[in-house]
């Protein structure tokens, strides 16, 4: 029983890969084409530019998904003769994590596989609500390029934008659409990128906010020190002063506070006999003459 089974399995082992290798490409392609067709059925719309050979690629499969959402704003879609690719250069990576408040830059490559010229019109990017891509959160400027791409040639265009800092730590749907038309005037709108991205907050060691927080704290503590010093010193003075501020009238002539006068002046006063101000004035006049 067992040896027979082993032989059978060995045969299977040899046959199965052979089958896969000989008809493998077609098999996988079929599966993916099915998917696209299914979506087309869902849409049941007038789609002229149906993917044919290139439909097996993942890029276009994603494009097919995208067109579902783009349906009401543009009936046109990617041309089968055009091949687009996106590359995020800033930040480097797949583009699924974008820094909030920092420049995001990507390149879109366009290859003309057909035999007619293509003219790249514009790229526009927009943030959508990730649950419902028809709900726009932010539209970015559409950059017009107006570049002709000859047959068998390719061109690169660059697009950059800043995700707002308010979007930090939120998932958003990012859609990048490339609009182009061919020499016959057929317009196409292809979603080069259509994914949910998360906006991440880069934590730097020292940003303006925290810096000024520390400055404010320093200023506040200095203010507290100054206020405390002022309060303490004035409190001490009041204690000493309170005893003196008892109005006695002019009855007691010796009770004048001379603390604030310099010692020399006090000596002078003690030496000179008291006299009326009028007499003093007369004396001064005489001396000046």
């Amino acid at each position: 029983m067992f040896p027979g089974m082993k032989k059978l399995l060995l045969l299977l082992l040899l046959v199965l890969p052979l089958i896969i290798t000989t008809s493998g490409g077609k098999m996988t392609a079929w599966a993916q084409e099915d998917e696209v067709e299914g979506e087309e059925d869902d849409l049941s719309d007038d789609e002229v530019n149906v993917d044919d050979g290139t439909g097996a690629e993942i890029d276009t499969a994603e494009g097919g998904e995208e067109e579902e959402e783009e349906e009401e704003e543009a009936t046109a879609k990617g041309s089968p003769d055009a091949d687009t690719v996106i590359l995020f250069t800033k930040p480097v990576g797949s583009g699924t994590e974008l820094p909030a408040g920092k420049l995001v830059e990507f390149l879109v490559g366009f290859t003309n596989n057909g035999d007619k010229d293509f003219i790249l019109d514009a790229i526009d990017a927009s943030f959508r609500y990730p649950m419902d891509f028809n709900f726009y959160i932010q539209n970015f400027t559409a950059i017009p390029y107006n570049r002709a791409v000859k047959p068998r040639q390719e061109a690169t265009v660059m697009y950059s934008f800043y995700p707002a800092e308010a979007f930090a730590a939120r998932p958003l749907g990012l859609t990048v659409n490339l609009a182009y038309h061919d020499a016959d005037g057929n317009a196409f709108l292809e979603a080069v990128f259509n994914q949910t991205v998360s906006i991440v907050e880069l934590d730097e060691g020292m940003d303006g906010e925290t810096f000024f927080l520390y400055v404010f704290m320093l200023a506040f503590s200095v203010l507290l020190l100054v206020a405390g010093h002022h309060f303490l010193s004035s409190f001490g003075h009041r204690k000493g002063g309170k005893k003196v501020v008892v109005e006695m009238g002019t009855t007691k002539r010796d009770d004048v506070d001379y603390d604030w006068l310099p010692k020399e002046v006090l000596n002078e006063i003690k030496k000179t006999p008291r006299q009326s101000p009028r007499q003093r004035k007369v004396n001064r006049d005489a001396s000046s003459k």
Partner: protein, 194 residues
Amino acid sequence: MKVLSYLILALAFVGCVLSEGEGEERARLLAAKRVHNLYLVEGRDIVVQYSVHNVGQAAAINVQLTDAGFSTEDFDIAGGQLQVKFDRIAPNANVSHTVVVKPKKYGYFNFTAAEVSYQPSEDSAEIQIGYTSEPGEGGIIAFRDYDRKFSPHVFDWLIFALLMIPALLVPYMMWYNIKSKYATVPRGKKGRSD
């Protein structure tokens, strides 16, 4: 039995990989051209950077980058070359190249795309032609205008200082005369004699 099932899995995997890798492997280059200056000034350096990214599966061979956008009548080349060749750019690798140019005149200038030509794989004879991104039109400011805004204005300040000297010197002299007139009377004696 277990070993056999593993073998089946492994072979099936190999088969899948083989069938998937059937497509022709090609290099795919994305090229960007960036102007790094905030102000484009007549007679001053402009840094232009070209970066070429290979996003294909194969290495790009004999990559030739040519920028015909900077004609010699409009620009001097201060550094770098407008035509450069990279023998090979591996998949998922990128190279960059920088040129420093000096514009000879001011006005608006359209920075156009540079051309990239390469062989998309080791054994292909065809030459793929591509173009970099276009930085677009940029205004080149006249040096005079730039200087007015950003120079340290040393000469202007010098003239200002010269003009300010009489306005400061005259009141000072007047004050000094009065001061020296009255400073002869010793203050200490005055205080004691009173």
